[in-house]
Symmetry: C2
């Protein structure tokens, strides 16, 4: 447990930009996690490592377990304990049937949302934004 003890815990009012970045992430986390367990069953820490390795998204334990619990209780993923094969039991999560439908819907929403923001960026970029 000697991991993050060099940082004195974020007490600053967070310079507005940092807070925004965190906000942005929030919207994608559920989607990212569902995608992580969509083709293979994975356990908690494995999901964290998978996201980090494949997308650089850094998710901590305090973040992922509440989300997994929420996704489980709403029926989008199913959890199963697997013990014996590893030193410590692991809880594997996989997408449920309902989750698969939800995921398809979410991907649709994501695509639509992404398009809206991108369109706005392109429109405003070329509409007189020259300040120099």
């Amino acid at each position: 447990m000697a991991r993050r003890d060099t940082e004195p815990r974020t007490l600053t009012p967070l310079p507005a930009l940092e807070t925004w970045r965190e906000q942005l992430r929030r919207g994608g986390l559920d989607l990212a996690i569902l995608l992580s367990v969509s083709s293979t069953a994975r356990y908690g820490l494995e999901i964290i490592r998978h996201l980090q390795a494949s997308t650089d998204l850094v998710v901590t334990e305090g973040t992922i377990y509440p989300i997994l619990a929420r996704l489980t209780s709403s029926g989008l993923v199913e959890a199963e304990w697997v013990a014996g094969e590893t030193p410590h039991p692991r809880k594997y999560y996989r997408l449920s049937g309902e989750g698969r439908k939800a995921l398809a819907t979410m991907i649709g929403h994501w695509t639509s949302f992404r398009r809206k923001i991108d369109r706005l960026i392109e429109r405003e970029k070329g509409s007189g934004d020259e300040t120099e």
Copy 2:
């Protein structure tokens, strides 16, 4: 004030998908609003109409005024009252110098984030997701 009185106010536990959609929006709202006032000064209700017209993003007054206040107090936009020319005074918002820098940074973050999610979707889509 007879506008939204047909809907009995959302009391349902929100079927998980709805909550998620709202979460996703959150991350993009600041960005969308900054973009709205980046090339032209606009007042509150005008921003709402502009976003609706150009991107279908529906933002209500209860949402936009707190955000504008936050963006103003953190120095990313500047506000100016304009009275006399219209029946009712309007508060025009425009991007500040600092806001312009922040906007550029945010666009960078947005692009990077979007790429991560898109990559994840493509990877998982083609990695054994056939259930039929």
